[in-house]
Symmetry: C2
């Protein structure tokens, strides 16, 4: 039984309102029940016991009287749009990952404002992030790196904050090349911080404002942290330009590491506290950051996964493009007709049943596979 697109969109708006982004149990529930049934279960007080009591309890108050259809209209009236996992513009490869400690679940849906097409702009994108309390050196470097990247057709992803983020967005906007993406920890209709209102307005007109929180949502400390995984996920690599020890931008770098993206830092004087976090990352015991000092060095790093200055721009990403190797093998093993059990899929894909069990839920959430009484099979999107 396949839900109508409107129904799915409304369910995802409802779910993203009542539960905080990155919530693993909700992600699992949506993978299990589908968004429409999960939303109904939350909204109606979980009559069949399909959701865990904790999930239901936490969501109950917020779900009361919430009208997703109204919110969707307001979003569209304000020039925004909702992006769902099944949509062609959804950057599937970037937003698919397995559960692991320190990394929150992928987004359920994304709210966008701006002319750019998300799947296209993140095909060649680098995150430039750093301290709000940046020095003149950091601001200058962020601006020049962003300009250079955009000039070479690489979009610049950042968090819309003061300091390094603002310099990165501004540098990219001053290029006539690729655009810039601001990933917010609040609704796309909220200008936060207030002082960046004009900057965010320009990004909405020329690039893309992205959030997984519905319009009207204000930022909280927790939302900033969870938002950081999106900045990392939507980029081939993350560059921290300036960061004190324990800076939030190091949380972004750590998520980039967990997501198997390239982790890079710009060095500075050892007498500057604003560079101390960057230097610490160069000394990371297991997975040190790469020191980058020029645009070419950033491109050298991210070029290792198929992008470099001399590569012509590619067309839109197709469903199976760039999926992690294991995920693609499992997906390739799922039949178009009939159905297959998890053990059969594991045999066919040459992986363990455990891997199959980890990989199927995100594929289900993204509408690539479905469950039938005969077992797992591809949806029409997954069969593309």
């Amino acid at each position: 039984m396949s839900a109508a697109p409107d129904e799915v969109a409304q369910a995802l708006v409802g779910l993203s309102h009542v539960v905080e982004p990155g919530h693993r149990a909700l992600h699992a529930a949506v993978a299990d029940l589908g968004p429409v049934a999960a939303w109904e279960a939350l909204r109606r007080g979980n009559p069949c016991g399909a959701l865990s009591p904790e999930l239901r309890a936490g969501a109950a108050l917020r779900a009361e009287g919430y009208r997703p259809a109204e919110q969707l209209r307001r979003l569209e009236d304000g020039g925004g749009r909702l992006l769902c996992p099944g949509d062609a513009e959804w950057p599937l490869a970037r937003l698919t990952w397995s559960a692991q400690p320190g990394l929150e679940a992928p987004p359920l849906a994304l709210y966008l404002v701006g002319p750019a097409r998300l799947a296209d702009v993140v095909d060649r994108s680098v995150a430039l992030v750093g301290a709000r309390a940046a020095t003149a050196y950091g601001v200058r470097v962020a601006r020049e790196l962003a300009l250079g990247l955009a000039d070479r057709g690489v979009s610049v992803v950042s968090g819309g904050a003061y300091g390094i983020d603002a310099a990165a967005h501004g540098g990219a906007l001053s290029s006539t090349g690729a655009s810039t993406i601001a990933v917010l920890a609040c609704g796309v209709d909220i200008s936060y911080p207030k002082g960046n209102e004009r900057l965010l307005h320009r990004i909405a007109q020329e690039g893309l404002i992205v959030s997984e929180l519905p319009p009207g949502t204000t930022p909280t400390r927790g939302r900033f942290l969870v938002r950081n995984r999106l900045i990392a996920a939507l980029s081939l690599g993350t560059v921290v330009v300036e960061a004190a020890r324990r800076s939030g931008s190091l949380a972004t770098l750590q998520r980039a590491r967990l997501l198997n993206r390239h982790v890079m830092v710009v060095p500075g004087q050892i007498t500057s506290g604003a560079s101390a976090g960057c230097h610490e990352q160069l000394r990371h015991p297991d997975h040190p950051a790469v020191c980058v000092t020029r645009v070419e060095e950033v491109l050298d790093s991210v070029g290792a996964i198929g992008v470099d200055a001399s590569t012509p721009l590619r067309g839109p990403v197709r469903v199976r493009d760039d999926l992690p190797e294991t995920v693609r093998r499992v997906l390739d093993a799922v039949p178009v007709r009939g159905g297959a059990g998890e053990a059969a899929l594991a045999r066919a894909a040459g992986v363990s049943t455990l891997v199959v069990q980890q990989v199927l839920p995100p594929l289900l959430v993204h509408g690539l596979v479905e469950r039938t009484p005969q077992g797992w099979r591809l949806t029409s999107l997954g069969a593309r």
Copy 2:
């Protein structure tokens, strides 16, 4: 047949005058014939054909009329002394290495001025080197790192040049802890550069001036490069504080790498050309330098081979202490009486004959083994 100490000293002075330091063929000839016979062969026109024609031809002019005994007297009158491989003050483990591309042969002998005992001070020593054209930032960092290292009992080795070198020596001299060692590319009686005359004089009074060139020798471009391997060899690790791309201090770092010492750099602003060489070393494809920003981080690195801030100072190095594993195994296999062939040594040491053939010459040069009609055996020094 063992030569008298005076005779050996005079031969080494003669050899170090007539052939440039690090000369592999001379090193091999000395390993083969012993210093006295090698010097005699050079001086007397190679009557028995023991030396290669090239070696003889290059040395002939300089050997003519050179009187090592007079030079030795002049050295001692000036407060200096000659250190030979058999001496207890000779830091054997630091000055023993096998031939490899890009690395010149070990020194034949060393000229010293100063109160410190070489084997002791290099037991815990770090090289701090960098650009002559240093910035205020680099000078400040070099001075502070050197002071901090000396305060913790680690001697600071450098090259006596302007800029970073001078700041490093000066920082160490301002400590009441360990001393500092200037390794020169000219005779120990020459103040080069002239502007550092007072600094070098203080080092001669409080630390140690070291050179493998006899008194009176002026510096040349080639001598600076060959000298750099000594700076690296006499230290547990080398820290480059500031260096432009292609700076001479990067040659020191490269030799530290080949000598299996710790290689470290201090980062700086990416807009400063004086740090560009340091950043490049952080991106070295095979063996990247470690980024260090504090004294503790330098100690963390060199601590990995047995030295750290909390380790009490050790006594003088004994002959077999800290010799590379392979070298020690070969040395352990050499008999005290009788003699053994190379194949027998290889079997006993559990290494290839090739390794034995590479390891024996330096052991011979350092007076640890000798050749007899029955094969190789330990000298009394080697048997200690």
